[in-house]
């Protein structure tokens, strides 16, 4: 009877998968092991080869790598699992780190627990407000198609140039690039984080020029590669990688200056192995690891002692002088104001698009 056969197969498959489930959870070493939550893709590859493997060897420990989720999703997960163990260490963007810290989800850290913090640039020690060191920064640059945008731009205002109507891509304000663009537009309009109205005004003016509304960073790649998009604000790290891959792009920090996003590591309050977690963060801040990250994926290091060969100058911000030229937004204020800005952005851009039709 057919049904009998089906029943048997279902049972076999179900048992097999139960077995699979059970087996993959076994073998949990309790000591000398931490779980680190990072990102996937190239970041993950570099992290695993150049940081985790040397760490495991040097400290005779195991680091389990979890690449799931963006910084915001990690924060959501931390919040949902409050007081329960999820990870020992997690990477978080600056403002997410502050939010997590204030909600009681992270351990306070300083040079006593993580000695290498003393070796960082001053802002990298302070910006995390004690919830974590700033481990790297990435400035927002103006990315342009070298063949199509002539002369080579040197100002953010090129985004508003009607000559490039439909060839500009911008991000939703819920994502870092969009948020920073709003701030930069505010600065250009004579405002700042606390007086944001000029920013929204300039954004409305920008809407007719925008040909693509993108959110995830890798989403940009097909548009740039197919030359559907010629101009966009973008993260320097990824931009340099695309240039390395052979795309005809140029990256420039416009004369008006720019903002940089900060990355940090946070140690969970509910971490199992805090001592090892602190060692891991400390290890990452070592000169060798910081330098490796800068070379491979162009994350600007925060350890003062890092130096890079001259071919990296202009591609990664290294050294006090280069870092000094970067501006960091008031992350405190950002954490508080973002909600209102998201709502206003939704409404304003929706309106602007409606009247365009």
């Amino acid at each position: 009877m057919r049904e009998g056969r089906i029943g048997r197969w279902v049972a076999i498959v179900a048992l097999a998968s139960l077995g699979l489930g059970a087996s993959t959870e076994s073998g949990r070493a309790q000591t000398r092991e931490i779980v680190f939550s990072g990102y996937g893709g190239d970041y993950g590859e570099v992290m695993k080869k150049l940081v985790i493997e040397p760490f495991e060897q040097k400290f005779n420990a195991k680091v389990v790598y979890d690449a799931t989720g963006s910084s915001a999703q990690k924060l959501a997960k931390l919040r949902a699992t409050k007081d329960t163990y999820t990870w020992d260490v997690t990477v978080l963007t600056g403002y997410d780190l502050l939010a997590a810290g204030r909600e009681g989800l992270l351990e306070a850290v300083g040079p006593e627990r993580i000695p290498n913090i003393a070796k960082l640039h001053e802002f990298a020690q302070k910006e995390g407000q004690g919830w974590g060191p700033i481990t790297s920064v990435d400035p927002l640059i103006l990315l342009y198609n070298r063949d199509r945008v002539k002369p080579a731009p040197d100002s953010w205002s090129v985004l508003w140039d009607p000559k490039y109507k439909g060839k500009v891509a911008i991000s939703h304000v819920s994502e870092g690039k969009g948020l920073f663009l709003l701030l930069i537009a505010a600065y250009m309009g004579g405002g700042d984080e606390k007086r944001i109205d000029p920013g929204f005004g300039k954004l409305r003016e920008l809407v007719p020029n925008v040909g693509a509304w993108l959110t995830l960073s890798p989403q940009y790649v097909p548009y740039l590669q197919r030359e559907d998009v010629w101009l966009t604000p973008y993260w320097n790290g990824r931009a340099q990688l695309m240039i390395d891959q052979g795309l005809p792009l140029g990256a420039v920090i416009p004369k008006e200056g720019t903002l940089a996003i900060t990355n940090s590591f946070g140690v969970s309050k509910s971490a199992r192995n805090k001592a090892l977690a602190y060692e891991f963060v400390n290890f990452y801040l070592d000169r060798a690891q910081q330098e490796a990250f800068a070379r491979k994926i162009y994350y600007a290091p925060t350890n003062r002692e890092v130096t890079l060969p001259p071919e990296y100058a202009g591609r990664v911000a290294v050294g006090a002088e280069a870092i000094g030229r970067l501006r960091f937004p008031d992350e405190d204020h950002l954490a508080k104001a973002r909600g209102a800005w998201v709502e206003r952005w939704n409404k304003d851009v929706y309106d602007a698009l409606k009247y365009q039709k």
């Binding site: 699979l20 959870e25 790598y65 979890d66 963006s70």
Partner: protein, 267 residues
């Protein structure tokens, strides 16, 4: 049906099938490109994104997990769904309509909400992230599809065959097992297909319920895509397609989809 009618139907179908396949074919073609970034149409062809797969053991592990998870989800959802559909369609009890509406809710809510809700709930019990969490999340998300598919076929069923069986002296359980279940096979198979594929495909709920060691394939792909846009994801997706297709063909062999309807007249 007339000849002209058949041709028209065929033409409409062909156009719709082309629509269904188009973006999928793009992904498959891109996976054979040589460039270091996603390029369509590819200038040069190469197998490098397949040979490079060995460098991504995480994806292979995720693949096996997804397979097992999908199978288990199908089994659990299937049983719960069939029982539930029988109750909803054939019986009357207080709260029946509410149950019928509520069973659809997991499909109508963004997976994000279900994922966060389940994660928060599980955390209350101080349990560890585990395979069971993933399984429960997947079952909840696929139940609406199984219930609806079975209920649809059940609702239109001709009762006379069951009446005849009962008239011949068969007890209710025997009638269900030997007459009803075979008759609703098309619905069960459709539901099982949904459960399997949707579980295999599930991204968002899984993001919140994964453990560092247990990452289903779509979540793994999503993690990768959030950071990089290399063609490796095209080759992995192509392999995913190939494997699911192989699984479906295997299931077809064993269960015989092509003859779904086991009763009535056939032309």
């Amino acid at each position: 049906m007339s000849r002209r009618g058949r041709l028209l139907l065929g033409a409409v179908n062909a156009a719709i099938y082309a629509f269904l396949l188009a973006p999928i074919l793009v992904v498959v073609v891109v996976s054979f490109g040589d460039a270091a970034y996603l390029q369509f149409p590819p200038r040069r062809l190469s197998l490098r994104w397949y040979t490079d797969l060995g460098e991504y053991p995480d994806f292979v592990r995720s693949f096996w997990l997804s397979l097992g998870l999908a199978a288990a989800t199908t089994a659990v959802s299937g049983v719960l769904g069939i029982l539930g559909a029988l109750a909803l369609v054939r019986h009357r009890f207080p709260g029946r309509d509410l149950l019928g509406a509520l069973v659809m809710a997991p499909a109508a809510l963004p997976g994000l909400v279900t994922g966060i809700a389940l994660l928060q709930f599980f955390s209350l019990f101080r349990t560890e992230p585990s395979f069971w969490r993933l399984l429960l999340g997947h079952v909840v998300v696929t139940l609406p599809y199984v219930v609806r598919s079975v209920a649809a076929v059940l609702a239109g069923l001709d009762r006379s065959l069951e009446e005849a069986a009962r008239g011949l002296g068969a007890g209710p359980w025997a009638v269900t097992r030997l007459v009803t279940l075979p008759l609703i096979k098309p619905g069960v198979i459709a539901g099982a297909l949904f459960a399997f594929i949707l579980s295999f495909d599930n991204v968002v709920v899984s993001i919140f319920l994964t453990t560092p060691r247990l990452v289903p394939l779509p979540t793994q792909i999503y993690n990768y895509v959030e950071s990089s846009a290399r063609p490796i994801i095209a080759s992995i997706s192509t392999l995913q397609i190939a494997v699911i297709v192989a699984m479906l063909l295997l299931a077809e062999r064993l269960i015989g989809f092509s003859r779904l309807y086991t009763g009535g007249t056939e032309r």
